[in-house]
């Protein structure tokens, strides 16, 4: 189901920044929005950066699907242990209060809805929350799904972090995904360099804009402007 902002009450104008955000700035925005004390899985790639921006004492506990809760920062130098990596196979560290478990237990944790937030990258997200992030579907692309489909349906809130437009200027937030799907209606929020969006069964809504007017952003995405320009 694809709907637009017109379909639901809009609480007010989005917050905004005066410039398009870098991926690092965006990671800070996502970190700000993760409630203190949440259990969070950060997907491979850009979302990994979010960990660097979580405030000290946030109590956020990081899950890595290869079998660990309370994962610490990336390991450096002597702290590197080949037996301790994150889901991207990057050496990481262990924080006090960590726990290890096997893969079936780790994905039971995820699939059972126990994670509060999961942040993933994406090729495309649809206004209804459909996610495409695992394969381009091109004949020469070897399909590899990893834990993406499990993460997509597992966490209570699935956020996507991505650039809003492709290099050639096409929106990646679309009425309907063209790429093969990872999950149906699973994304609730999309963080991009141009702004933040709520998506889902009630349609798309602009929450924040960065270096662009909400009306202009709505126009570029082909959605109803959030309020009279």
């Amino acid at each position: 189901m694809t709907t637009t902002t017109a379909d639901r009450a809009y609480p007010g104008p989005p917050r905004s920044a005066d410039h398009r955000l870098s991926m690092d700035e965006l990671a800070a925005v996502v970190a700000r929005d993760i409630p203190a004390g949440s259990f969070v899985n950060l997907g491979i790639g850009q979302p990994t950066k979010i960990a660097d921006h979580l405030p000290a004492g946030s109590g956020v506990v990081l899950h890595t699907e290869n079998g660990m809760l309370n994962m610490g920062p990336k390991a450096e130098g002597d702290a590197i242990d080949p037996d301790l990596t994150n889901a991207g196979k990057v050496p990481v560290t262990e924080l006090p209060g960590a726990a290890y478990f096997h893969h079936a237990d780790s994905f039971a944790m995820m699939r059972g809805g126990h994670l509060d937030v999961c942040v993933l990258g994406a090729y495309e997200v649809a206004f209804n929350g459909d996610l495409a992030n695992w394969t381009t579907g091109r004949p020469d692309d070897i399909p590899a799904v990893g834990g993406a489909m499990d993460l997509a349906i597992g966490a209570k809130d699935v956020y996507v972090m991505m650039t809003l437009f492709t290099r050639s200027g096409e929106p990646k937030l679309v009425p309907r995904c063209a790429y093969p799907l990872t999950g149906l209606g699973c994304v609730s929020r999309v963080y991009t360099d141009h702004g933040v969006f709520d998506v889902g069964s009630e349609g798309i809504r602009i929450r924040e804009t960065y270096g662009v007017d909400a009306g202009e952003l709505a126009q570029r995405l082909g959605i109803t402007p959030p309020h009279p320009a």
Binding site: P35, V60, V61, N70, P96, G97, A99, Y100, A108
Partner: protein, 231 residues
């Protein structure tokens, strides 16, 4: 939310359990039975409860006391009838309590399914028996299975040995039994432990219930009941 609430009393730990709630209660006989939480639940007064537990009370303590207080509408368990299950037996024979008998492994696996996001599963246990009545049957690869659905709790009351303040748990010996499974299957998991320690004290390789499954913890003084029931 990550940091489990550490509460001062069992009464505070069971606050808010509503009438009509489904409560998973740990323990196999008396081993692992969360006596203090159950006693607090009796004082708290919630009624019309559905209790999921392996047994239906032993002697006059713990679950048996909750039953005797008239708070339980229905029991799902594998083994109600024991030499010391007189409280349940009387209530059942008087028609004052409902019983659903579930094979012990199905009880555990159905709660695991609830915690693991499995919608249902085909299980070979009880095929061809009276407990198969009404269940969907399917042959897979030459073997016959019954379709079993998850058992989810509003609350779990369990006993563990040591918790850290984040909520990681370890158990003692066969007192582990249903605790780790129930912790995954309830919306709110409440744990009584012998000891609360700082994070980093429990070996991360030896954690049995990771912190994500634990909501409330209360440290209690270990009480010892004789194994066959009476205080």
């Amino acid at each position: 939310m990550s940091r489990a609430e550490i509460l001062d009393s069992a009464d505070a730990a069971v606050a808010g359990i509503e009438d009509g709630a489904t409560v998973l209660v740990g323990g196999f006989g008396l081993a692992g039975m969360p006596f203090d939480l159950i006693d607090a639940l009796i004082r708290q007064g919630a009624k019309d409860l559905t209790i999921v537990s392996n047994n239906a009370g032993n002697g006059d303590v713990g679950l048996a006391a909750l039953l005797a207080a008239g708070r339980v509408r229905k029991v799902l368990c594998s083994f109600p009838r024991q030499s010391d299950s007189w409280v349940f037996d009387d209530l059942y024979r008087a028609g004052k309590i409902e019983l659903e008998v579930v094979p012990q492994g199905n009880l555990a696996e159905r709660m695991r399914a609830a915690g693991a996001g499995i919608g249902a599963f085909y299980c070979p246990t009880a095929v061809g028996t009276p407990l198969a009545e009404g269940k969907e049957v399917r042959e897979i690869d030459g073997r016959t299975y019954l379709l079993e659905y998850p058992i989810k709790g509003d609350y779990a009351l369990i006993g563990a040995h040591v918790a850290d303040t984040m909520g990681n748990l370890v158990y003692r010996r066969t007192a582990r039994n249903f605790g780790p499974v129930m912790a995954t299957a309830a919306t709110t998991t409440i744990v009584q432990v012998d000891q609360v320690v700082e994070p980093g004290t429990i070996d991360p390789e030896a954690v049995v219930t990771p912190s994500i499954y634990v909501d409330r913890i209360v440290q209690v003084t270990a009480r010892h009941y004789t194994v066959q029931g009476a205080r």
